[in-house]
């Protein structure tokens, strides 16, 4: 009887919530104590995602150690998880045309998601995650898991994962090996701790609805993906050979879309 009661409790604590079909997920990464945070928006609709691609620009005009930066959007990537094909755009607009077309293997990330971490060559780097005590942050309960860094154990480095069972994030995951500890729940935050450094990666739902304009963009970009007239490149070839805004050989695109960079 007692055994069934605990099984009931376990099922309750790990119950999955409704998976939203569309919306916006925000990803964030930062060092504790460091003012600059990296973050990006990820629009999704069914199994398609539009990822805001951002880049840090450091201004080294003067000073021995420039400690300031701007974090600017340089592209939007339309990624179809079914085909794992991706097209890059300069603008988030239904009239924009793709300028890069590439395939993403499941060992790679677009933005910061969609990588099957079971396939990563990380065996032996981290111990298998195990559940530890729950915690509450701002009134919200999280299950927690912990992995230990195995390559060098002198510092006692470890990573803590915060698992949210109140909302199933569906296609988004940081580490599926952690999610699998508790079916229907998702690790929404990872803290890598190498004392005194703490590096946090996390994501959350900003909203679970798309605007009319965003829906229109998804519709058009899905059509564009089917009719794209660009060579299908490998992922890294797409990064290095496509005419991205940051390609300095032709700064006209950068000037057009990011004029503020040239005022500084």
């Amino acid at each position: 009887m007692c055994k069934y009661f605990f099984l009931f409790l376990l099922l309750c604590s790990c119950r999955s919530a409704k998976i939203p079909k569309s919306g916006v997920v925000v990803w964030e990464s930062f060092f504790e104590g460091y003012k600059l945070k990296e973050f990006s928006q990820n629009f999704f609709s069914d199994s398609s995602v539009i990822i805001e691609g951002k880049q840090l620009f450091f201004f080294g005009s003067f000073g021995e150690r420039p400690d300031t930066a701007v974090y600017e959007t340089i592209k939007y990537s339309y990624f179809d998880l079914r085909t794992r094909r991706c097209q890059d755009y300069y603008e988030l607009s239904d009239t924009a045309k793709p300028y890069c077309n590439y395939y993403v293997a499941d060992t790679m990330t677009v933005g910061h998601f969609f990588c099957n971490d079971y396939k990563l060559a990380k065996r032996g780097i981290w111990s298998d995650p195990v559940l530890i005590s729950d915690t509450t942050i701002e009134g919200k309960n999280y299950k927690r898991a912990r992995s230990f860094f195995l390559l060098d154990t002198t510092n006692g480095d470890y990573a803590d994962y915060y698992i949210d069972c109140s909302l199933n994030t569906g296609i988004f995951y940081l580490l599926n090996s952690v999610d699998d500890l508790c079916k229907g729940c998702t690790a929404v935050r990872a803290d890598n701790i190498s004392k005194p450094i703490i590096h946090t990666t996390r994501f959350w739902f900003d909203r679970t609805k798309l605007s009319k304009k965003e829906k229109l963009i998804f519709k058009q970009w899905e059509i564009n993906a089917k009719n794209v007239n660009l060579p299908l490149l490998k992922y890294m070839d797409g990064i290095t050979t496509c005419p991205h805004l940051t390609d300095g050989k032709d700064s006209s695109r950068l000037k057009k879309y990011m004029p503020e960079l040239f005022k500084k």
Binding site: F58, P66, L175, K264
Partner: protein
Amino acid sequence: MNNPLRFLLLVEDTSGRIRRGDVLLFYPADENLTKLPDSSFTNFFIFESMKTDGTFSLISLSDVTQYEMDFTNGSPGEFRLWQGRASIYAPPPDQPFCKDWFLITTVYYSDGSIQQFEDFLYTQCYDDPSSSGGGTTTPTQTPYTKTVHESAIVYHKYTYNAYWDVYLATALAGTVFPDNTSNNQFTDNVQEGSALIHSPGAGNAGPGQNFYTVYNAYQFINTISNDHNTAQARVNFTYAYPNQSPPVTTPASGYKVYYASVVLH
């Protein structure tokens, strides 16, 4: 301003002959300062930083101010460049040679952004073009070409006791006008490489560490402004933490702007 500390800066060529000279004045914020700290010139010319608050002023031997730079807390606050531009290129031989003088002010804000203003000052005409740098006539010093090798930190991330820096090395070639360095011009800039340097702080050393960083510079971009007075060296790179859980890769870009009047000596 307090009384300046005065220096004569002589630049020699490889054979030891003096190629040019400038007067350097430093107006210290602290009136009791009588001597600049060691490596002040290196800090100024290489890193554009100063350990002492005050204003650096470079004046040609013909007594024309070339530029000034204010420093507060080791960082530049304002850079003022006096720039003379020929009013008419190749004026007729019997006509005076005239220059339009501009004051170009660059303001450096604490958030890292900069703002530049350009003010027309006046037009000055000279019967003898060789005296076009100031009030006294001095022997003309022949313009010459020069290549300098510069390196700069174009990316910096500091957390607790650890930091990550990207150094960008560039060779800058151009023409030096000894009589008026504000006319110096770049003709070429070539990137010589870049590297990520990080401190031996916590979790930050090698491939066996949690915070091991992989740096990949995949694109170098060099530009020279239309007026050839400034050059920009930029590197596009990614830095990744492959050992972290989950691994993180961030694209980034850093650049350095060089002024011909400052770096070409």
